[in-house]
């Protein structure tokens, strides 16, 4: 069973969404609905499932409905139709009290512009989730202090958010989200407001943290490179519709439509594709053409950017092996050139 399952979600913004619903279900276009009724279609029949312990990246341009989608998971927004199952419970059926309890226990959120409380110190900010849960004062201080250390902000506990730089503020946001030890972490364009260097640093920090914590993370971004770097699975939204869901390689190699193609066009493929994706399998490979002297062994999860220099330099063949060292397949310059050719 998936951790989070979203089934046929529709979201219509406007004064009378239920009345417009039949029209939208009949397949009227976004523009037509806007013109006829003044309602905006935010999400159109979105279904996806997110597995426990993975980073699911939801990507799209602004206005594609990705922020709306993530807010359905903790029900900051109610869907017009459809269901959101978290741990097999339909979030939309919870009453006022249950939803508060659910938000406290199950998930927390990181925001694009950090969403820190300007009137609270860093340590009070980090401890906010615990304060809401009415954890005793000394205990929540201890936990908050631990989280602050984990994101490398020791010594800033008693500063106010406005005294910190953007990158540091977002670390506070991350520490605050982790302080309640949630099962699910929702990150709404969490790194988009940071400059490129800090952003890349934060991405690495998130990957490191995730390796230890194994949370289920739903990450929203408009940046394809970011989504390819972080995502175990990626969902691409366009105008409120989910266009494609898949592993990063699938998105790169088989873009579902022109919109995804346009996204993928300028991606550095060698940073995304892994050896096991492009290799020729053992049984199909004609071994006679290789010189045994120039064979290198590489793990199947290696990104091909690490292989390219080797292959280019001595025309060598790469032997792809799995974790146990069993040979799975081979890569030569032929495989590389096919994999790196852009599809148009």
């Amino acid at each position: 069973m998936s951790k989070i399952e979203i089934n046929n979600i529709y979201k219509i913004f406007g004064p009378n969404p239920q009345q417009v619903m039949p029209m939208v279900k009949d397949g009227a276009s976004k523009e037509q609905v806007m013109e006829d009724t003044g309602h905006t279609v935010g999400l159109y029949n979105v279904s996806l499932s997110i597995e426990e312990g993975e980073i699911f990246v939801c990507m799209g341009l602004s206005g594609s409905g990705k922020s709306t989608l993530i807010r359905h998971i903790n029900r900051l927004i109610d869907p017009t139709a459809g269901e959101v199952l978290v741990n097999n419970v339909d979030v939309c059926t919870l009453d006022e009290k249950e939803i508060l309890e659910f938000r406290k226990k199950t998930m927390s959120m990181v925001f694009q512009r950090f969403g820190l409380f300007p009137h609270k110190t860093i340590i009070e900010n980090v401890a906010y989730g615990l304060e809401i849960q009415e954890v005793p004062e000394d205990q929540r201080r201890e936990i908050a202090q631990g989280q602050i250390s984990a994101v490398g902000l020791d010594g800033f506990e008693h500063q106010y958010p406005a005294q910190l730089s953007g990158g540091m503020q977002q670390r506070v946001g991350l520490a605050r989200a982790l302080a309640t030890d949630p099962e699910i972490l929702l990150m709404d364009e969490a790194f988009s407001a940071l400059d490129p260097l800090i952003r890349s640093e934060m991405q690495n920090q998130l990957v490191d943290l995730q390796a230890k914590l194994k949370k289920t993370i739903v990450f929203i971004t408009h940046d394809l490179d970011e989504s390819l770097k972080l995502g175990d699975h990626i969902g691409i939204l366009n105008g409120g519709r989910l266009v494609q869901v898949g592993r990063p390689e699938d998105i790169i190699l088989n873009p579902a439509d022109d919109y995804v193609k346009a996204f993928v066009k300028d991606v550095n493929r060698s940073k995304v594709l892994r050896a096991k994706t492009i290799m020729t399998k053992l049984d199909k490979f004609d071994k006679s053409s290789t010189k045994p002297s120039s064979t290198y062994k590489y793990d199947e999860d290696t990104f091909i950017e690490d292989l390219v220099p080797k292959v280019l330099k001595d025309r060598s063949t790469i032997e792809v092996v799995d974790k146990k060292g069993t040979t799975k397949g081979y890569i030569t310059s032929d495989e590389l050139s096919v994999a790196l050719t852009k599809t148009h």
Binding site: Q19, V20, P22, M23, D26, D36, T37, R71, N74, L76, I99, L100, E101, F102, R103, K104, K105, M107, S108, M109, F111, Q112, R113, F114, G115, L116, F117, P118, H119, Y128, G129, E131, I132, Q133, Y160, A162, Q163, T180, L186
Partner: protein, 344 residues
């Protein structure tokens, strides 16, 4: 298909109603006016070219508001007069005891108290403190008689402002939470701010008699709107992402209000209290016309005796009092704001 069709029809009918209801009423009024007009034109040509039948406002088109209010007020006074007496006694008691307390204090103690309050509420700013101390001293220095008068005015104002806070802040909070309530209350606030003060001073006298109590009621009516507006504005202006952050951690409405919205709206609320104070002081002179004693009384006397010097002196004393009260309320608001947005 049928559902879609019916849906479209109902949307069209709604549009038609919104656009045409008022024009239809307008045309109907024109027709009735024509029928009841004495000067009926002889031909259609004359009807169109000579609009003299529309010169006079039709006599029957008149809402008998005056009669309703007079009757209503009379019944109201007879039925509920007893309650007003209770309110009257309570308020008068409050003012008298506050005044007695302040007058019994030796004047240097009062000045010292004011200085101490300013010093701590402004975050230990020496310049402001000294300035306010000098202003306080000058009230008595202008004319020894003014000291007691100023204390009398201040005690009326303190009670008035306390009532404003008790009414204004909860009302502002309620407005920020509920759009319908806001739409209902905003015109009432407009009315309170634009209606000439004598319109409620006179009924006030009829309910409470001459003296300090109707002055307080008038002060509250006149001074509460800015506080309500600024409380509402302050809460509405709190960053939506910060609110979402609180919600995402499962904060209940109460936790959100007390922990996030009110503290962040506090600079605006303090500004509201400041405005409230200034407007209450402006009311002091007008209220003296219904027999309220205090500094306004002196201005009125000066005017009646054509004693320009006396009126100006008393006017100056009011300005000084205004400065003192303004600095106290302003300084506190600024202190909070500085903490939320420290200078870069």
């Amino acid at each position: 298909m049928w559902a879609l069709f019916l849906n479209r029809i109902s949307i069209m009918i709604r549009k038609f109603l919104t656009y045409f209801t008022f024009p239809i009423i307008f045309v109907w009024l024109l027709v009735v006016s024509y029928n009841s007009s004495k000067r009926k034109p002889d031909s259609v040509m004359e009807l169109l070219t000579d609009p003299s039948w529309l010169y006079d406002w039709p006599k029957w088109l008149d809402i008998p508001l005056m009669k309703w209010i007079n009757d209503g007020f009379k019944v109201f006074n007879e039925k509920y007069g007893i309650y007003f007496e209770v309110i009257n006694d309570f308020l008068l008691g409050a003012i008298l005891s506050l005044k007695k307390f302040l007058i019994v204090l030796p004047w240097p103690v009062v000045i010292a108290l004011v200085v101490a309050i300013v010093f701590f509420s402004s975050g230990r700013k020496v310049g402001t403190t000294v300035f306010v101390g000098i202003c306080t001293f000058f009230i008595g220095f202008l004319h020894p008689k003014f000291w007691d008068k100023a204390i009398e005015t201040t005690s009326i104002m303190i009670i008035g402002i306390l009532i404003c806070i008790v009414i204004g802040i909860p009302l502002g909070i309620a407005m920020a939470r509920n759009n319908k309530l806001r739409n209902a209350i905003l015109p009432v606030l407009d009315l309170m701010q634009t209606i000439p003060s004598f319109c409620y001073l006179i009924p006030g006298i009829m309910l409470f008699g001459l003296g300090a109590v109707p002055a307080i009621i008038a002060t509250v009516i006149y001074a509460v709107p800015p506080l309500v507006r600024l409380t509402d504005l302050g809460i509405t202006l709190v960053d939506t992402e910060v609110i979402e952050a609180a919600e995402a951690f499962g904060a209940s409405k109460r936790q959100k209000l007390l922990g996030v919205q009110l503290p962040l709206a506090l600079p605006n609320i303090m500004q509201g209290i400041n405005q409230c104070t200034m407007m209450a002081l402006a009311m002091v002179v007008i209220a003296s016309m219904i027999g309220t004693r205090g500094l306004g009384d002196e201005v009125l006397l000066g005017l009646q005796q054509l004693n320009v010097g006396k009126a100006t002196e008393a006017g100056l004393a009011i300005v000084l009092l205004a400065i003192v009260l303004d600095r106290i309320t302003q300084a506190y608001g600024k202190k909070i704001q500085d903490r939320n947005q420290p200078p870069k």
